[in-house]
């Protein structure tokens, strides 16, 4: 469990003038100074910019203004979130030199709430990976054991919170890219309901699956951050046109009377220490008054296969715009087609190329029905199976990751082994439901284990109630 100050406590003390935002941000910058070389959580540390915005927060508070619920809170942003005038790379060479002319909606909302951005965090190139080893700028190391990966693709954001570089961070989750690194780094990570958080300004990997979400030290901070960034955005057509439910009230609700499902036909493959933690979670929840109910979700096991057709298919189209014509890097060549090929050949890393090829193939004439079309059917089946399960339960609990943090290089030579990291997280993306990982217990080498809580669409209040209960029983709630 991390021992850093919660964002709630920071915002409270900065808002009352008890501490200054500059001091808070300086402390975090000092920790970055101390350990960043070792961890490499960031592609870019916004040292001067962070101090300047902290100064402005302090000035506004001194002037008696109400700054917002994140006043002076240092936040790190995954480097696939657009920041106006600040390089945004997706950890790819192909975006070399590009500075977006706009802020992502979430960035603007957090800035409005008083947040201070301390840096842009490393990721697997274009969010494709589960270890942050696929970054063009080198891997991020797990702050809890630097011989191991932080998970991915939002490994930099998870590591930043785990190392105390920022009080909170934002990641994006397409198939588990928030929840898996949260589990591996011992922090809370949430993938919200699809459409709850605007994707405007999030550089797309797979648009129908991508959601932005928080990394925090505890469940209550996650509730706070999600409340600050969720809500309808007319700039994103897939944004849910209704207000986001309050979460803070759910935190102390407890689980008495809740029906929590155990998926009996869950795909196997989780390590014994992980399975033991999940079993223990069910015991704790039952002790707290929840009813544990066995359910089946037959389609769960097909999720991974469907995902690795749908996500690459969308990616092959989303990433076609990186052609060297308008922005980013360009490799000059004799004619336009050669320029495209040279630019993309040099600009993209091997995992990105692999997925572009997979996706292009899956959508090709003659193969569409057998691959992409069939994957869409699995997606519909998955939604049906979950809907059936939710007739008898309010939430589900599973492992977040099949294992604790693994050593560098242990899966890089075998893409399929790496893809299996997403087994338990993918279904929520396919059906657009919320899910979160909360630290619960420890495994091999005392490394943290994350338990995943799943809920139906817009079921975040229930999900947070369950996660808060698990956190209380694990002794992880911050003051």
């Amino acid at each position: 469990m991390s021992t850093f100050q919660s964002a709630r406590s920071i915002a409270a003390s900065v808002s009352t003038g008890e501490s200054s935002a500059v001091d808070i941000v300086s402390e975090h910058l000092a920790r970055i100074e101390e350990r960043e070389e070792e961890v490499h959580a960031f592609n870019l540390v916004l040292h001067d910019e962070a101090l300047q915005s902290a100064e402005r927060v302090d000035e506004r508070i001194a002037a008696g203004e109400h700054v917002g619920p994140l006043a002076g809170v240092p936040i790190a942003l995954k480097d696939n979130l657009c920041t106006r005038g600040i390089p945004t790379t997706c950890s790819s060479n192909i975006l070399d030199g590009w500075r977006p002319p706009y802020d992502a909606t979430v960035v603007a909302r957090l800035a409005d709430a008083g947040a201070v951005f301390v840096g842009k965090t490393n990721l697997d190139e274009f969010a494709m990976g589960s270890s942050t080893e696929n970054s063009a700028f080198g891997p991020t190391r797990n702050p809890l054991d630097t011989s191991r990966v932080p998970g991915g693709s939002s490994g930099g954001s998870a590591a930043a919170v785990a190392a105390g570089f920022s009080a909170m961070s934002l990641g994006s989750d397409t198939g588990g890219s928030i929840r898996q690194p949260a589990a591996l780094c011992g922090v809370v990570g949430v993938k919200p309901t699809y459409g709850a958080v605007s994707r405007l300004g999030l550089i797309a990997f797979a648009s129908s699956l991508d959601q932005i979400g928080p990394f925090t030290h505890d469940v209550a901070d996650a509730a706070l951050l999600l409340e600050c960034m969720a809500g309808h955005d007319p700039g994103d057509s897939t944004s849910i046109p209704q207000s986001f439910p309050s979460l803070s009230e759910s935190l102390d609700r407890g689980v008495a009377g809740l029906r929590i499902g155990r998926i009996v036909d869950l795909p196997s493959g989780a390590d014994a220490d992980v399975v033991a933690s999940v079993d223990r979670a069910f015991e704790v929840l039952a002790d707290a008054g929840a009813e544990i109910i066995d359910v089946t979700i037959p389609a769960f096991t097909y999720g991974l296969t469907a995902y690795y057709l749908i996500a690459p298919a969308e990616a092959s189209s989303n990433l076609a715009r990186y052609d060297g014509v308008r922005f980013g890097s360009r490799v000059e060549a004799a004619d336009t087609n050669s320029m495209y090929m040279a630019t993309r050949g040099e600009g993209f890393g091997p995992e990105v190329k692999r997925r572009i090829m997979l996706g292009t193939y899956a959508l090709s004439a003659g193969y569409y029905d057998a691959y992409y079309g069939k994957a869409l059917k699995v997606r519909r089946l998955m939604a049906q199976d979950f809907a059936t399960a939710y007739e008898s339960v309010d939430a589900l609990v599973t492992p977040a990751s099949p294992s604790v943090a693994f050593p560098f290089g242990s899966k890089t030579s075998d893409p399929l082994a790496m893809y299996l990291c997403d087994t338990y997280t993918i279904p929520s993306n396919l059906i657009g439901h919320p899910a979160m990982s909360v630290p619960f217990g420890a495994g091999e080498n005392d490394l943290p284990i994350g338990v995943q809580v799943l809920a139906p669409a817009m079921g975040e209040p229930t999900m947070f109630a369950v996660a808060a209960e698990l956190e209380r029983s694990a002794g992880g709630n911050h003051v």
Binding site: P101, L200, S207, D236, S237, S316, S317, A320, R326
Partner: protein, 479 residues
């Protein structure tokens, strides 16, 4: 044109379907807020969506949907709930490397358009899509290959288009021309587009095949670069003859895209089926399905103006002229039929009003500068015998030149004194006295002799007498 009814060549008939792209007359682009305006400085009407920048998201333009629905309803289509798809291909002026279009669920389906002689051309679909940017290739042939460089203007990127796809119901070049002319008249009437082929706001591609009547459809070739209605007729005539010649030589038609060369009057291979792109259509995950709903559809339907065909029928009824007469076609094409009806309502003489407007208002728009009351007064004087047709024509010219006026005062100013019957009777008496021979021949039934008598009257009255009135008097005298 005389080839409306038939086109046959060595026993073959042509089978033609047209794909017509029209730019919609919206304020802003299909998926962003940049102005939709032709002729501005390059790259001034752009934004992150138009440029396909990372993180940008499309938001559908309601006005574009409404104009597209008008087109569908005017073409007797079923308007349905629909989806957007991505059409993937690389081209420098295609910012995202995909075009957002509609594929398996278009907005409008199953309509038709009636052209002359009761011939009905089916409309398969009319769907929404976005336009590309515009490339100018410098040096070389003006095409991308072999050019020294290309300049791209993204002002047009994202401009809303509707693609109207006819069924292969067209059998002659004249029918193709009539279809396009009628379609253009409808598009202008409903305010959907200015539909100018020369400016590219209306673009026509033709799918041409040939067969012996009653046989299955032959292999078709798509003809592009047809830039006027006249060229359309020439291009499909050439292409159909080319195909007949090939078949007659025992060759097989290859499905391909061909380029019409206005200069040499031929079509040339642009790309064969083997070179055709695989567009890898799939549902655009950035957009949600569009369901216009009955209420909106009915509102749009109720707001449709009277269409050109109905306008011709109305004008025929008002004027007593044949519905397919040139005067009616011309006046409706100029959108001056409302004016003709308004003038006739004031003072009658609808047939004369039609003739005058057709002859004298060719430079005027749909709202002529001559006030309806002034033209009505002039026609009333003409019909009432106060003016000869020659005088009427002169005064009509004055009215057009001066943008209106009081015809009575204008007649007086020109010295066109109305002659009362007694004065005319005097002139007739004089004429009979002067040429008794002609009078007796006229009375004996020799119609030619009347000319001499009328000539006397005209000479004596210095052209002021109304020829019709003189004829009437002579006839009544004859008994």
């Amino acid at each position: 044109m005389s080839d409306s009814a038939t086109w046959t060549h060595e026993g073959f008939e042509m089978v033609v379907g047209l794909e017509v792209h029209v730019e919609l007359a919206t304020e802003t682009k299909l998926f962003s807020g940049s102005p939709n305006r032709f002729g501005d400085d390059p790259n001034t009407n752009i934004d992150p969506v138009s440029l396909g920048l990372p993180g940008a998201l499309p938001v559908l333009n309601r006005q574009a949907v409404e104009l597209a629905m008008r087109i569908g309803l005017a073409l007797n289509c079923t308007v349905q709930s629909c989806t957007f798809a991505r059409k993937n291909y690389f081209y420098p002026d295609m910012p995202k490397a995909y075009q957002i279009s509609q594929y398996d669920r278009p907005l409008n389906i199953d309509g038709h358009l009636e052209i002359a002689d009761g011939i009905v051309i089916g409309v398969e679909r009319a769907h929404l899509e976005e336009d590309t940017g515009k490339s100018t290739h410098i040096g070389g042939s003006g095409r991308i290959h072999g050019s020294e460089g290309s300049l791209i203007d993204f002002n047009r990127a994202g401009v809303p288009l509707v693609e109207i796809v006819s069924r292969p119901d067209i059998r002659t070049p004249e029918q193709a021309r009539q279809y396009v002319n009628e379609l253009r008249a409808i598009l202008v009437e409903i305010g959907a587009s200015d539909a100018r082929m020369e400016e590219g706001s209306m673009r026509v591609d033709a799918n041409v095949s040939v067969r012996r009547p009653g046989e299955e459809f032959g292999t078709r070739c798509e003809i592009k670069n047809v830039n006027s209605v006249r060229s359309l007729g020439r291009a499909i005539d050439y292409e159909a003859r080319r195909q007949v010649a090939l078949i007659s030589d025992g060759e097989v038609i290859q499905q391909e895209t061909r380029h019409w060369d206005e200069g040499d009057g031929r079509t040339h291979t642009l790309r064969t089926k083997e070179d055709a792109d695989d567009y890898r259509y799939f549902p655009d995950p950035d957009l949600v399905p569009l369901d216009p709903g009955d209420e909106w559809i009915n509102t749009v339907r109720s707001q449709l103006p009277m269409l050109p065909a109905a306008r011709r029928v109305r004008l025929a009824e008002v004027t007593g002229q044949a519905v397919d007469s040139e005067a009616i076609a011309t006046v409706v094409e100029r959108r001056q039929d409302d004016y003709v009806v308004a003038v006739a309502e004031i003072g009658g003489g609808a047939e004369r009003v039609l003739v005058h407007v057709k002859e004298a208002f060719s430079e005027q728009g749909s709202e002529p500068s001559v006030p309806a009351a002034d033209l009505a007064a002039l026609v009333a004087m003409e019909v009432g015998g106060e003016l000869t047709s020659t005088q009427t024509k002169t005064l009509l010219g004055d009215l057009v030149e001066q943008g209106g006026g009081d015809p009575k005062a204008m007649a007086a100013a020109r010295g066109f004194e109305a002659m009362d019957t007694s004065e005319l009777d005097g002139f007739v008496d004089d004429a009979i006295a002067a040429d008794p021979d002609a009078w007796s021949k006229f009375c004996a039934g020799d119609g030619k002799a009347m000319g001499a008598l009328v000539g006397h009257v005209m000479k004596a009255s210095r052209g002021q007498a109304d020829g019709k009135a003189v004829t009437a008097i002579l006839n009544s005298r004859k008994g």
